[in-house]
Every structure is written in C-alpha cells, then in structure tokens.
C-alpha cells in the first residue's frame, strides 16, 4: 500500500532526496581522497558526510512514509551507500595493481594514426 507524501512534506522529500545523493557522493569523494593521500582526518569528514546521508535517508523515510515493506528500502540505502565506496576503492586498488606504469605507453599520437593504444593486450573475442 502506498501512503502518498503530505503537502507540507513536499519540500522535505525533495530536499532530503537530493541530500541523499549529494551526501552519498561527497562521502565517496572524501573517502577516496582520504585513502589516496593517507589523510586520516579527512576520513572523519567522510563519515560526517555519511552521517548527513544517514539523517537524510531517515528524514526521507519518515516524510515519504517508507513504512512496512518500504522500510527495507531505507535499510538497503543505509547499508548500500555505506559499503559501496569501500568496495569500489578495493576494486580500484586491485585492478590497478597489475597495470604497467601509466608513463610507459605515453607517446604522442600521430595524426590519423592507426596505432593501437596498447599493443600488449591479447586478442579476445566476446
């Protein structure tokens, strides 16, 4: 069953909805930055952003009447947005681990060049 948003809560829903995504991105950004530059104090800011996200999700959940089955959406968002940057960061580290140094293939591209960017790639078909 759907409980439509009440008129007085319109702005809250739009604003908290936007804040979920913005705070989610800010958390991801600060998290990655902190890891990249080994700056632990930035991690505090990252989790502060997540705190904003947490509050925004709860506000959205109450204003948009996300009760009953819809409560799972709130849980999913809280857990999903918390863990996603961790997972993606680990993937970044792991996928780049095997790569050659970026400078290695850095040469000027000739006009109309038919040169492949990286010839070491092995052939594969999908």
């Amino acid at each position: 069953m759907l409980e439509p948003v009440e008129l007085k809560d319109f702005f809250i829903v739009f604003f908290s909805g936007a804040m979920v995504i913005m705070a989610g991105a800010l958390y991801a950004l600060l998290f990655a930055w902190s890891r990249l530059q080994s700056k632990p104090w930035m991690m505090v800011l990252a989790y502060a952003s997540y705190g904003i996200l947490f509050i925004s999700v709860l506000v959205l959940g109450s204003a948009a009447h996300l009760h009953g089955f819809w409560w799972w959406l709130v849980i999913t968002m809280l857990v999903g947005y918390l863990l996603a940057p961790h997972g993606i960061w680990n993937l970044c580290v792991a996928t780049h681990a095997s790569s050659v140094a970026p400078e290695a293939d850095e040469k000027d591209l000739e006009p109309g060049s038919n040169q492949p960017i990286n010839k070491t790639i092995k052939e594969e078909s999908v």
């Binding site: 069953m1 759907l2 409980e3 439509p4 993937l91 792991a94 996928t95 681990a97 095997s98």
Partner: protein, 199 residues
C-alpha cells in the same frame, strides 16, 4: 595472468559477472512482462473491456488501497447508443488513432506521459470542467470540433488549435477518453475531483 590480481578484481570475473547480471535481469523483466501483459489487456480487472463505454464510470476513494480507483457502474451508453464489444473496440481504436494522427501527445499527457503544455487527459472524461454529466458529451464534442471558439484556457491565454475534427471523429475521441478514464492507474492523478452528477 598476473598473480597480483585477486580473482574478484580480474577482467574475466567482471566479464562473466556483467553477462550474468545483464542476462538474469533481462530474464526477470521478461517474467514480469509475461505476468503484467495479461493484467493490462483490455477486459482485465485493471484495464476494462472497450465496452465499458456503455457503462457509468466514476472515480472513488478506496480506503483499503488508500487511493482513488475507477468504479464501473450501471448502464450509461455513450451518446445514448449501446455498442457491442466489437463496435466499442472499433470506436475506441478509431479515437486512439485520431489522437495519434493529430499528435495530441505533443501538448497533452496521457496517463501522465507526453508534453506538459496542456492538461493531462487520463481522467478528462471525469473532469468537473464539463459542467455536469448531462451536458458533458455535447460540450466535449463542441470543444473538440472548435476548440478556438469554445476555448477553455482559464485565463492562461493558451488555446487548443483547431484540428478540424468532424463530428464522427470527435465522438471517437470522446469514446477513447471515456475508456481511458476507466483504467486503474494506482491512484494517478491523485486527489482528483470528479464531475457533478447533476447540473
């Protein structure tokens, strides 16, 4: 292969994952489609048969679902003429073809989809702007045949252009609109006020 790459970050793993995720999501979509299509086929509970234009249509609040839902009542034939299922389908279909040929969606929304330059037509049949149920049919015909003369722009200055509909064409469009108003749209549009029963 480079040993430094764990299995969960390897190219092959993600290639397989991409294929499996895409494939399974698509299969789920197909299954849901197979379930949904019968439920929106004309003659189903949510999308009534075309002959519903022979009946009275209302839009009432349903406490259990917490939204307004269409209510199909007793006999109330469109333009006073009872139609068979085939005749009704032919008329509604003609009406829909006219709305496509005149590109109504270029200004209006139908079921909320289209353009936002003119009112939504989902429940146009039930709109209180048509004065009363008694006058509704004639008013709709007159408006569709000469929307400039019978402009209903509520002070906005916006008018529907004359699309040169014949009386027969206008009747078909009204039939299509009446049928569309009987579709269960999960409460869209919300908080709708229905036309007066009497003038």
């Amino acid at each position: 292969m480079n040993n430094a790459t764990p299995w969960w970050s390897s190219e092959v793993f993600w290639k397989k994952t991409a294929i499996w995720v895409t494939g399974s999501m698509f299969v789920v979509l197909i299954i849901l489609t197979l379930d949904s299509i019968p439920k929106i086929t004309a003659g189903s509970e949510r999308v009534p048969a075309y002959s519903v234009i022979n009946k009275h249509i209302d839009y009432k609040f349903n406490d259990e679902r917490n939204i307004q839902v269409p209510l199909i009542g007793g006999e109330d034939p469109l333009f006073g003429k009872m139609l068979s299922e085939e005749e009704a389908e032919a008329l509604v279909s003609y009406g829909k073809k006219i709305t496509q040929g005149r590109n109504c969606m270029g200004c209006h929304t139908l079921l909320g989809n289209g353009s936002y330059f003119a009112p939504d037509l989902t429940k146009a049949w039930l709109d209180p702007g048509w004065s009363s149920e008694e006058e509704r049919e004639e008013m709709m015909i007159a408006f569709l045949m000469d929307p400039v003369e019978n402009a209903r722009s509520f002070g906005s200055g916006r008018m529907m252009p004359n699309l040169h509909l014949s009386r027969g064409e206008a009747m078909a469009v009204v039939a299509f609109l009446k049928w569309m108003s009987s579709i269960d749209t999960n409460g869209f549009p919300y908080n709708f006020t229905v036309i007066d029963k009497e003038g």
